[in-house]
Symmetry: C2
Subunit: 158 residues, 2 copies
Amino acid sequence: MTEVKQLTEKVMIEFAKTIEMFDLSPMEARVFSYLYLADEALTLDEMAEALGKSKTSMSNSIRNLADLNLVSQVWKKGVRKDLYQANTQLFKSFMTSYINKWIEAANYQKDNLETILEQAHAEGVRFPDEEGTKEEKLSAIIEFHQDVETLFRKIKPQ
Amino acid sequence: MTEVKQLTEKVMIEFAKTIEMFDLSPMEARVFSYLYLADEALTLDEMAEALGKSKTSMSNSIRNLADLNLVSQVWKKGVRKDLYQANTQLFKSFMTSYINKWIEAANYQKDNLETILEQAHAEGVRFPDEEGTKEEKLSAIIEFHQDVETLFRKIKPQ
DNA sequence: AACTACGTACAGAATAAACTGTACGTAAAA
DNA sequence: TTTTACGTACAGTTTATTCTGTACGTAGTT
């Protein structure tokens, strides 16, 4: 292996660690990292070969990455296989997908909690007075979800 | 089980899901959630009993939570066992620990990448001219880390 | 000083996640 | 139309993570 390839590989491995922090699996992270550093769009077979993993693994990883808009499929005349390339707007694309995930989850969880409470109240279930602090805690939890959602909405790139 | 306990348990399970998003394990999340909803500080044995898990598991979870300043130990005269309570400032404590983790990691990773590059350059390893875009990509990666760090520093609660 | 009870290290067991190989549906090529 | 090559579903295997039980060091109690 040439020195340049070694250098590229080192960077790939290191960059992948960062990408994992965005809730991507190790394999997804490596695939993205490799694809980003590649000089051209690659096929599943090429990536499988380069990373020493199965084609199924590549297919799954690429699909998840594409769902998150971190990777996109490109077409090239005369090439039958699917070609993929990494989105080059690192900060924007990673942050957007990550923040969206948070917003969605926080909102979903808040709804769940509110529904649980409403149902309980409708059925006449309430915390006894001596547990009044528990009602306050539940409010605090719901407010927490709201605050998280608000924060992430605020920092979401436009 | 009383209706009130059932309600509490439902909320506990739901809240735990949110907490997991802050990179806590399922068990850590459940412990925090249970502790937060509890009316008083609890011992390891009480939590192990309530959650149906081993004391070792509680000990590990509590330690991690304490390291993240999400749980704190309290003392009560005459009680020999360690007592723990959940930090009630949900938004502040979770966000602070989470953001700190990001800042630390982004900074660490950026340093690693810069070191790799510097070493390679010192050894005379450079990307050939036709791969000039690769040098640009590396710069972009490093800049990406910087941007992530900057963003999280900006939103860090004071 | 001897005893008891606590929290945790450590190694192994159980559980969950990631990865692979085969087999199939589909679409391009012959 | 037949053949070939592609991507992916699915079930099973491997690997990693989480959890448990025992065993030990330490500190409080008698």
